[in-house]
């Protein structure tokens, strides 16, 4: 924090010098060295923010009966994150953060012709796996997509150049591209969350904005207990307890990407 504060004062000071004369710079230096220094400008996390070493999710597919059960989950995610709806306009431009897939698509390569009937017709929720070794992060030439300290694979929309290398790198098809200005296709926007602009890639953010405010992801909340969320490296966390007592599968675990979405089947 010490460093960033100084950086910040430097930047503010320099710009002030350039634009408005020297006075504010002197103020800035005065406040850096003066009595106010202890509580001077700085950055903090929100006190109620939830933190983890690696966030993870356990989806209990036994608690879902049909696609109807998934609808509210998908809806709340797309609604609060201002995900546009292109399904009526042009299917090529579709954007999705969380959606449903059949077993044979969510787990291609694992499906056989003789799958358990429940599994075969069960809709699976799929989303960004927030991999421990994300290939998309490796591919991004600007660090616009990066792995945060709590394990979330996040997008920095300000920095994305729209090269779509991350989309080629993702083995789960979890990323979407804004082929055009998404705003006209957001029916009702959440004014407290930004929209995106054309030409950038987007995907699930594990509700980083809600975690900062001490809330679990919206899909977890809307799942009525079917989705658990917690720290993969905290032995006491809910996800660890579930992983200990249930057989779980992950999508394409063999690729070594370390997906952190686990499915109880």
């Amino acid at each position: 924090m010490e460093n960033s504060r100084r950086d910040f004062l430097k930047i503010a000071g320099i710009s002030a010098l350039a634009v408005a004369g020297a006075e504010p710079v002197l103020n800035a230096f005065a406040s850096e060295h003066g009595e106010e220094a202890s509580k001077a400008a700085g950055f903090q996390k929100e006190e109620k923010a939830l933190t983890a070493k690696q966030w993870a999710m356990v989806i209990d597919t036994r608690k879902f009966k049909s696609a109807k059960d998934l609808e509210p989950i998908i809806e709340v995610c797309h609604k609060i994150h201002n995900v546009p709806d292109f399904s009526k306009e042009n299917k090529r431009h579709i954007i999705k953060w969380i959606w449903e897939e059949e077993y044979k698509h969510a787990f291609p390569g694992d499906a056989s012709g003789f799958t358990d009937e429940r599994i075969e017709h069960l809709p699976f929720l799929v989303l960004c796996n927030h991999c421990e070794e994300p290939p998309c992060v490796r591919a991004c030439p600007t660090k616009a997509t990066f792995k945060r300290e709590d394990g979330i694979v996040l997008m920095d929309f300000h920095r994305c150049i729209g090269c779509r290398f991350c989309m080629a790198a993702c083995p789960y098809g979890s990323r979407s591209f804004n082929f055009r200005d998404p705003r006209p296709f957001i029916e009702e926007r959440n004014p407290q969350f930004p929209t995106r602009m054309k030409g950038v890639v987007e995907k699930c953010n594990f509700c980083a904005e809600r975690l900062a405010a001490g809330q679990v992801p919206a899909c977890v909340e809307a799942s009525k207990g079917a989705i658990a969320f917690g720290d993969l490296y905290d032995p006491e966390s809910e996800v660890r307890k579930l992983l200990k007592s249930n057989y779980t599968i992950r999508r394409k675990a063999g690729l070594g990407t370390g997906p952190t979405i686990y499915y109880i089947v």
């Binding site: 930047i11 503010a12 634009v19 504010p24 106010e36 903090q44 996390k45 945060r148 300000h158 200005d181």
Partner: protein, 146 residues
């Protein structure tokens, strides 16, 4: 050494035309300087009395501040800015800045237009969330989502 200039006429004419073209914006706009715009503060902004930095610092460096904020929020997951006076603010263009300065046209645009800059902040960030927030509803249990 031969000091003669070849194609003298053409060279001089060329230089003159070049000089006129290059200085075009200056003499074309001569005497037409637009008056500096006046910014309008909303009642909320007036009542708050102070911003996250002093008025002078904000005038000169709000863009650097916002740039810093977005780095902090997006990349380092710090969401709270503590001002020099020790007051905490949530670092959010829409939810903090535009909460007070809900008059984008009179507060932001005037000066941006005057100085001929077109920041694309509002391509994504919503300029007056308060006016819209009442109408936005999701299922009851995730209403407080930010």
């Amino acid at each position: 050494m031969n000091k003669q200039m070849y194609d003298k006429k053409n060279v001089i004419a060329g230089i003159v035309i070049f000089a006129v073209l290059v200085s075009f914006p200056f003499w074309y706009n001569l005497g037409k300087a637009a008056p500096a715009p006046e910014l309008v503060l909303t009642d909320a902004a007036k009542a708050a009395k102070e911003c996250v930095m002093s008025k002078e610092e904000m005038k000169a460096g709000h863009m650097q501040l916002l740039d810093m904020w977005r780095e902090k929020v997006v990349r380092e997951s710090d969401r709270i800015y503590v001002s020099a006076k020790g007051k905490p603010y949530v670092m959010s263009l829409s939810n903090t800045c535009m909460d007070c300065h809900s008059n984008k046209a009179e507060f932001c645009d005037r000066c941006h237009n005057y100085s001929s800059v077109t920041p694309y902040c509002w391509d994504c960030h919503i300029d007056n969330p308060k006016a819209e927030v009442k109408n936005f509803k999701v299922s009851e249990n995730s209403k407080e989502a930010k």
